[in-house]
């Protein structure tokens, strides 16, 4: 209960802050429910209304085979699919799988890179929403217990 209240309040702050930024007029609402979902399926349903995605090889998902450090895993996603509306990164074994989602307006290329945290070895899934469907591709990233490091 307390948790919900707190997150709700934070949501409000975030909204206020967005509203306060003069240049950011059209920023969409941060998809809180999808981000808080504790399972892949729920996260997808919250974001897209369905957890059914079409597997495709038209998405290039670049992730390391073995993460050097689970706290900083480089991820790059691009696609040859047309009319892309959004790109999302999900990590199945993370406590909350939805890591990030990017809205792609017309004119913006479906080609993004970021760095994410992974709690353990898991599939990393790139989900791309286009005007005619939801597509995905996944690759496993191994997260090991380090030795001494760097």
């Amino acid at each position: 209960m307390q948790y919900t209240k707190r997150t709700l309040m934070k949501g409000c702050f975030a909204l206020l802050a967005v509203a306060a930024l003069p240049r950011v007029l059209l920023a969409a609402v941060w998809p809180e429910k999808a981000f808080n979902a504790t399972g892949m399926s729920a996260a997808l349903v919250d974001l897209f209304g369905t957890d059914v995605t079409t597997a495709t090889d038209q998405i290039t998902l670049k992730v390391p085979e073995i993460a050097e450090n689970g706290a900083v895993v480089p991820v790059s996603i691009k696609t040859t699919l047309e009319n892309v509306e959004s790109i999302s990164i999900l990590v199945e074994k993370n406590p909350r799988p939805m890591a990030a989602t990017f809205e792609i307006p017309k004119g913006t290329l479906a080609d993004i890179s970021s760095r994410i945290k992974m709690a353990e070895t898991s599939d990393v899934t790139a989900v791309i929403k286009t005007s005619d469907g939801i597509y995905s591709t996944a690759r496993q990233v191994k997260v090991t217990i380090g030795g001494c490091g760097g």
């Binding site: 934070k10 702050f13 975030a14 206020l16 802050a17 967005v18 306060a20 930024l21 240049r23 950011v24 059209l26 920023a27 969409a28 941060w30 998809p31 981000f35 706290a71 900083v72 895993v73 990590v91 993370n94 406590p95 909350r96 939805m98 890591a99 990030a100 989602t101 990017f102 809205e103 792609i104 307006p105 004119g107 913006t108 290329l109 080609d111 993004i112 890179s113 970021s114 760095r115 994410i116 945290k117 992974m118």
Partner: protein, 104 residues
């Protein structure tokens, strides 16, 4: 004071490649302070917005699973030298930062 956002851009034809780096702890809310043993409250960027000459070119929504000092890069078309690229982020505590740069 150093800015909390760094941006590098590269124009090739009308395509601008944008690389950005944010100074932010991205606390998950499940980490404990090694000294006090108290849980460090969740603190993360929620939204990162890019506009070019006022037109929105990217909205990135982040969870706590984006790494500390987040990195994000993307490209957009229809860009030309002299365009004003504006970057801003807000976090779950209402903190924010912004930066404007010219494409070249």
């Amino acid at each position: 004071m150093a800015s909390a956002i760094k941006v590098k851009t590269k124009l090739s034809g009308d395509i601008a490649e944008v690389k950005s780096l944010m100074l932010h702890p991205m606390e998950t809310g499940s980490r404990k302070d090694p000294d006090s043993g108290n849980v460090i409250p969740v603190h993360h960027i929620t939204q990162l917005v890019f506009t070019n000459n006022g037109k929105q070119v990217m909205v990135a929504n982040f969870s706590t699973a984006v790494s500390k000092n987040p990195y994000f890069s993307f490209s957009f078309s229809g860009a030309k030298a002299g365009d004003r690229l504006h970057v801003s982020w807000v976090d779950n505590l209402g903190e924010k930062a912004e930066l404007e740069t010219q494409l070249k």
